[in-house]
Amino acid sequence: MKKNGMMVVAGFMGAILFCCSSSYADDLSPFKGEKGTVKVSGGTAHIPVMKEAAKQVMTAHPDIQITIAGGGSGVGIKQVGEGLVDIGNSGRKPTDDEIARYGLKLYQWAIDGVAVVVNPNNPVRALTGSQLIDIFAGKIDNWKAVGGEDRKISLYTRDEASGTREVFWEKGLKKGEVASKANVVVSNGAMKTSIAQDPAGIGYVSVGHIDPTVAAVAVDGVAPTHETVTSGKYPIARGLYSNTKGEPAGLTKKFIEFLYTADGQKIISANGFIPAK
C-alpha cells in the first residue's frame, strides 16, 4: 500500500526530473533552505549508501546534519519504533508484529543478496546447499572434505540483531543451526575484514559489500551476482528497507525520497546493490 504511494511519488518526481534534463543540483534542491537533523541507524549493509547520500546532501546544504549509526536490523527497527532515531534501516522485512507494534512505514530502495564468502586464498568456490548447512552446523569441520586444503574451518556468523543473519539462516541454512563455536562479528564490514584476514574462514556477507579482498562462493551451482540476484535465480536475497515510525515528515521524508531519485539510485548501484523502484 505505502509502497504504491511511494512509487507514484517517485514516478512523478522521475517525470519532473526527466523533463528538466536533470543535473546534479536538481535532485538535491528539495533540501534547499532546510535545517535540522536526521538520525539514522540500523542495518550495516545500508551504511555505505547512507554515508554517501548524507555526504552529498550535507555538502550541498551544510545546515543539515545527518547522523548514521550501525547496530544491525534489529537495532534499527527497535530504535525507530521507540523514537530514538528518525530512520531505522533493516536488511530484512520487519515482521507484521513489529509493524503493528511500532506503526512502521516501510520503504524498500534496493535488492541485495547474501553471499557465502571465503578467503581469496581458499580454492573452494562452490558448495552444495547441504554442504553449506553441514559446515555451519559444525558437522563438516575441515576444508578438505569439500575440496579444499587440509585445514580446520573457521566459522564466522553475525550477532542476533542482524537482518543479514536472519535472511541467511532462513534461506541459506534452511533454518538449520549455527554451531556455537562460530566467531560472532557485528556488521557486514566486520565480516568482510574477518574473512579477508583468516585463510580458513567462511562467513556470509551482503553482496554489495563484496570486493577483491573476499571471494564469493556459488551455492548449488548459482553464483551470487547482480544478474542472478535480480532474476531471482540466487535464492538468498532480501530487500534493503528504510523504516520510519508513521508517515515521515520534513527532512526525513526528503532524505528517503532522495534515495529514489536518479542520484540516489546511482549511489545504490555504485555500492553493489540493485536499486528497487
Binding site: 547496530g71 544491525g72 534489529g74 537495532v75 527497535k78 521507540e82 585445514r151 580446520k152 573457521s154 564466522y156 550477532d159 542476533e160 540483531a161 556455537s180 563455536k181 562460530a182 566467531n183 560472532v184 562479528v185 557485528v186 574477518s194 584476514q197 583468516d198 580458513a200 574462514g201
Partner: protein, 285 residues
C-alpha cells in the same frame, strides 16, 4: 550572614557526598529493577548455569561467565610472574639508574588507551597466534588473555612495588647489616612482609581483568560457548552486554543483560569487601 553562608556550603559538601553515593546505588538499582522479571521466578540460578539460546527462550549466561573466568584467570596467570619480577626489579634487583626510568615507563603504560591494546592485538598478535596454533582463527581465549595480561601488568607492577617499598627501613638496614645481597633481601625480608599487599594487588588486577570490555570484544571471538581449550573462541560477560544491547527493549533477551550487569556489579562488591577484610585482618597482626 557569613556563618549562615558557611553552614550552607558545608551542608553542600555533605550533600555532594550523598549524591555521589546515591549515584553508585542508582547504578545497582537500575540493574536490579530492569533485570527483575528474569530474577523473579527463581530463575537466577538457571540464568547463571544455563546455556544461551534466545530463539529457544533460554537466557542462561553461563557460557559468558565461563568465558570471563577463562580469559581473566589466564591473563592473571600470565601477568603475575612477569609483574612480580618487574616489581622485584624496580624495588630491589635493578640498579638505581635503571629502576627509576623503568618505574616511569610502567607508570606511563597505565595511560595507554585500552582500545589501542585491542587494535594492536587484532593486527599484530592474532595472525601470530593463528600461525602458532596452525589453524583456527586466532580469535580466542589465549590471544585475549595475552593482551589483557599486558594491559593489567602495569597496575600490578606499580601496586607490588608500592607494597615492597613500604617495608620499614629498619628491616632493610638489619638485612644489610647481616650482609644480605639484594636478592636475599628481596626473598627473605621484602616479599614476606609485602605478602598482603601482593594479594590485594592480585585481587584488584583480577577485578580489572573481569571488568575489561574492549579487549575481550575485539579479540576473543565472541562465540557463545563454554571454551574447552585456550584456543577456542569465547565471549565475556562485558562483551556480551555490548553485543546484546541491540535487542528489543521489551524482550527478555534484553533484560538478561541487566542480569549480566548485576552479576558484574555484585562481583565488584564482593571483591572490594574481600579486600577490606584482608586489610583488616592484616592490621590485626
Amino acid at each position: 550572614m557569613s556563618g549562615l553562608r558557611e553552614r550552607i556550603l558545608e551542608s553542600g559538601f555533605f550533600l555532594a557526598a550523598v549524591a555521589s553515593t546515591a549515584a553508585t546505588l542508582l547504578i545497582f538499582g537500575f540493574m536490579l529493577v530492569l533485570g527483575f522479571p528474569l530474577l523473579r521466578s527463581g530463575l537466577f540460578v538457571d540464568l547463571l548455569t544455563g546455556a544461551w539460546a534466545p530463539a529457544a527462550g533460554a537466557y542462561g549466561i553461563f557460557p559468558m561467565v565461563a568465558g570471563t573466568l577463562a580469559i581473566s584467570l589466564l591473563s592473571l596467570i600470565l601477568a603475575f610472574p612477569v609483574s612480580l619480577g618487574c616489581a622485584g626489579f624496580a624495588a630491589a634487583i635493578g640498579p638505581v639508574w635503571l629502576s627509576r626510568p623503568f618505574r616511569r615507563m610502567v607508570q606511563l603504560m597505565t595511560g595507554i588507551p585500552t582500545v589501542i591494546y585491542g587494535f594492536v592485538g587484532i593486527f599484530l598478535l592474532v595472525p601470530i597466534v593463528r600461525g602458532l596454533h596452525g589453524g583456527g582463527s586466532g580469535l580466542c581465549v589465549f590471544s585475549a588473555a595475552l593482551v589483557l595480561a599486558v594491559l593489567i601488568s602495569p597496575t600490578m607492577v606499580l601496586f607490588f612495588s608500592d607494597s615492597l617499598d613500604r617495608v620499614p627501613k629498619s628491616y632493610l638496614d638489619a638485612a644489610d647489616a647481616l650482609g644480605a645481597t639484594p636478592s636475599q633481601k628481596l626473598r627473605l625480608v621484602m616479599l614476606p612482609y609485602a605478602k598482603e599487599g601482593i594479594l590485594s594487588g592480585l585481587i584488584l588486577a583480577f577485578g580489572r581483568a573481569v571488568g575489561d570490555t574492549m579487549v575481550a570484544l575485539m579479540i576473543a571471538g565472541n562465540a557463545v560457548q563454554v571454551p574447552e581449550s585456550v584456543f577456542d573462541a569465547a565471549r565475556a560477560l562485558t562483551a556480551h552486554i555490548a553485543l546484546v544491547i541491540a535487542a528489543d527493549t521489551e524482550s527478555l533477551e534484553f533484560k538478561s543483560i541487566f542480569v549480566c550487569g548485576l552479576v558484574l556489579y555484585l562481583f565488584v562488591g564482593l571483591m572490594i569487601s574481600g579486600l577490606r577484610l584482608l586489610s583488616a585482618l592484616g592490621h590485626r597482626r
